[in-house]
């Protein structure tokens, strides 16, 4: 008797089944109802089958690759933990970059997971749906591996104990949080341009790479490893972001102005979030990789420039905000670090003034601006600190309605004057750091009047614990706000000099490398 053995399908065939063959046209409900968000943004897609998959991953292949990466990562994390790897970083100031990453960036990975799961449901085309679902899983993996990696530091150092709680409340964390909230509450196409393209493709090299190379330069092997583990996913995400843009643009010429507007908006929104990275690179890494300005020039002006040349054939032009960014690049990190130095009492990480050698490094990297505008201010602060009069700004700052960053940005071309921009909407006034943030607001004011501005929320009394009593004679509003943030005063905040982290790191490293004994703070 002849037995008919059906050949097992190859990868290519399996992929075709998953992304084409398994899809169907619904009959008892209209397709419009099944994919309700497909059209309201005005993007016209005529043929989803024209989608060219940039990578053909089947689910079984995906699980296999990712499982292998996980095994390697966790083996290294185990070794790192067992060898007290945290004592091998350059100095304990470095650990503050991890606090910033964990509280500011890791929760965005989780939001990216949610966002891609959402658009992975909403696109009528099955090819991009599958790609988005895989990216959604990647992002969930990234947030998990980051939490696991950094949790080892949480055992020894302050400020990392409640990162998720802090992400939803702290004044500077509202900047990355509101950025992602803006993206996930947009329609599926805008989300893809915002995160898939502007963030993953145009800006990832300016966020993820600086943190990971900073880790490598400063001896943090566990963070380097989660960076590597995520990097191959990032390459896939960048490809997806670019393919989606090209696909949308090829589908209908009417899509161009909409996409251009989103690219303009999200490049700017992303660059404002990168303010945190700029100061991390120039001020928080004990051993610097390169300056923020150099990173911007390499990763945006050169690499990004080539990308926009490539997109020119679709009619896409360089975002208008680039001119402003070019004028800000010599100032951004210095002004941003000054903000955190001002409000170092209300941050969940430590701040400090650069030492003499570090100031010289800044002078050499910013020859036109550092000595002229920033060194005198920073030296004054250092002198005052030495006299026991460390500067803390105790009054809340004015915030930009769109990016939610304190209004510290100076007029492009005049670093001595704060830039002010205003709009009126429905009888109220709104303030902005830049013409670009104002333009974003003016385009969709109903969206941005809802901004949860931390300063205003404090004034409204929404940032106190339920047991706080504002009528009590000894009520201290700023202390109560820190309590609401779950910041342990004197441990998580204030200057690095004199901190528990500083003392403990020195003590433990001394015990590890010399015959030193003592008590932890």
């Amino acid at each position: 008797m002849d037995t008919q053995v059906k050949k097992k399908p190859g990868l290519k065939e399996k992929y075709r089944h998953m992304t084409r063959g398994l899809d169907w046209q619904t009959s008892y409900q209209s397709m419009d109802k099944v994919f309700p968000f497909a059209e309201f943004e005005g993007i016209k897609i005529h043929d989803w089958d024209k989608w060219e998959d940039p990578f053909r991953l089947t689910m079984d292949a995906y699980w296999k690759y990712q499982a292998e990466k996980e095994r390697k990562l966790y083996a290294i994390i185990d070794a790192f933990v067992q060898n007290n790897g945290h004592l091998k970083v350059t100095d304990a100031r470095y650990i503050n970059t991890l606090k910033l990453f964990l509280t500011g960036v890791s929760p965005l990975e989780y939001m990216a997971h949610r966002g891609f799961a959402h658009v992975g449901r909403q696109f009528p085309g099955v090819g991009p749906r599958v790609a988005c679902q895989m990216q959604s899983l990647d992002e969930l993996r990234h947030v998990q591996t980051q939490i696991h990696t950094i949790s080892n530091y949480n055992k020894y150092y302050n400020g990392m104990h409640d990162f998720r709680h802090m992400h939803d409340r702290l004044w500077y964390l509202s900047v990355p949080k509101s950025f992602f909230d803006d993206a996930v509450t947009a329609g599926p196409f805008e989300f893809m341009v915002a995160i898939g393209f502007s963030f993953e493709y145009v800006l990832t090299n300016l966020l993820f790479v600086p943190f990971m190379s900073g880790a490598a330069f400063n001896g943090d092997m566990s963070t380097v490893t989660f960076g590597f583990s995520a990097q191959s996913d990032e390459a896939r995400h960048m490809t997806l972001g670019l393919e989606v843009i090209k696909f949308i643009l090829e589908q209908d010429p009417a899509n161009l102005p909409i996409v251009q507007k989103w690219i303009d908006k999200w490049t700017w929104r992303g660059v404002r979030v990168l303010t945190l990275v700029a100061m991390m690179m120039d001020y928080m890494l004990p051993k610097r990789v390169m300056s923020w300005k150099e990173a911007w020039e390499i990763y945006f002006e050169q690499n990004g420039g080539a990308l926009f040349k490539d997109l020119a054939r679709y009619g896409i032009t360089m975002p208008k905000c680039i001119e402003t960014i070019n004028k800000e690049k010599d100032h951004l990190s210095h002004q941003a670090w000054a903000v955190f130095y001002n409000y170092g009492g209300a941050a969940a990480f430590h701040t400090w003034m650069p030492d003499a050698e570090e100031m010289d490094w800044l002078s050499s990297k910013y020859p036109d601006t550092f000595d002229k505008y920033y060194r005198p201010r920073f030296e004054y602060w250092r002198e005052q600190e030495a006299k026991g009069n460390r500067f803390y700004n105790m009054t809340l700052p004015m915030l930009c309605q769109t990016c939610q960053i304190p209004m510290f940005f100076t007029v492009p071309g005049d670093p001595s004057k704060i830039a002010y921009h205003e709009s009126h909407y429905s009888g109220d006034k709104y303030h902005f750091c830049s013409e670009h943030c104002k333009e974003i607001f003016d385009d969709e004011p109903e969206k941005y009047v809802q901004a949860w501005l931390p300063v205003h929320q404090i004034f409204q009394g929404n940032c106190f614990k339920p047991d706080a009593d504002p009528t009590a004679a000894d009520f201290n509003p700023l202390a109560e706000v820190l309590r609401y943030y779950n910041i342990n005063f004197g441990h998580d905040n204030l200057d690095f000099n004199g901190s528990d982290d500083q003392k403990n790191f020195d003590l433990w490293r001394g015990m590890a490398t010399q015959n030193q004994t003592g008590e932890s703070a």
């Binding site: 947009a186 505008y373 700052p397 670093p415 003016d442 969709e444 109903e446 809802q450």
Partner: protein, 119 residues
């Protein structure tokens, strides 16, 4: 322009004056003194006298700066959203035309921060 939304999208204003327990927000910026990294925000009663701002509020915020004690308040120039304005010290914020979320900045003539760098 209006928001691009899937269904009717009523504007939900988070920071209307009604939410500030009788206060209004006033932003104050001291020109040429970027040691204070950004303009400051205050929640004050609408009938708060402008003179008390100078006497009782700004010192707490700005007196760390060595220039602050040098300010000749009679020579200070005030601006409301960049437009020159002359406050009447004995009158309230509202009587001076200052509403919720208004921005005032002031120039202290002759004072330009640490080593003249607008710090």
């Amino acid at each position: 322009m209006s928001v691009h939304a899937f269904k009717p999208y009523p504007a939900r204003v988070m920071d209307g004056q009604d939410k500030f327990h009788g206060n209004q927000v006033l932003y104050v910026g001291w020109v040429d003194h970027l040691m204070f990294c950004a303009p400051l925000a205050f929640a004050l009663a609408p009938d708060f006298p402008f003179g008390d701002l100078i006497k009782n509020v700004l010192p707490g915020a700005y007196s760390y700066h060595p220039d602050f004690a040098q300010i000749d308040w009679s020579a200070v120039q005030w601006y409301k959203s960049g437009v020159p304005f002359t406050p009447r010290l004995e009158e309230s914020l509202v009587q001076n035309g200052l509403g919720h979320k208004d921005l005032i900045t002031f120039v202290s003539p002759g004072l330009t921060g640490i080593k003249g760098t607008c710090s």
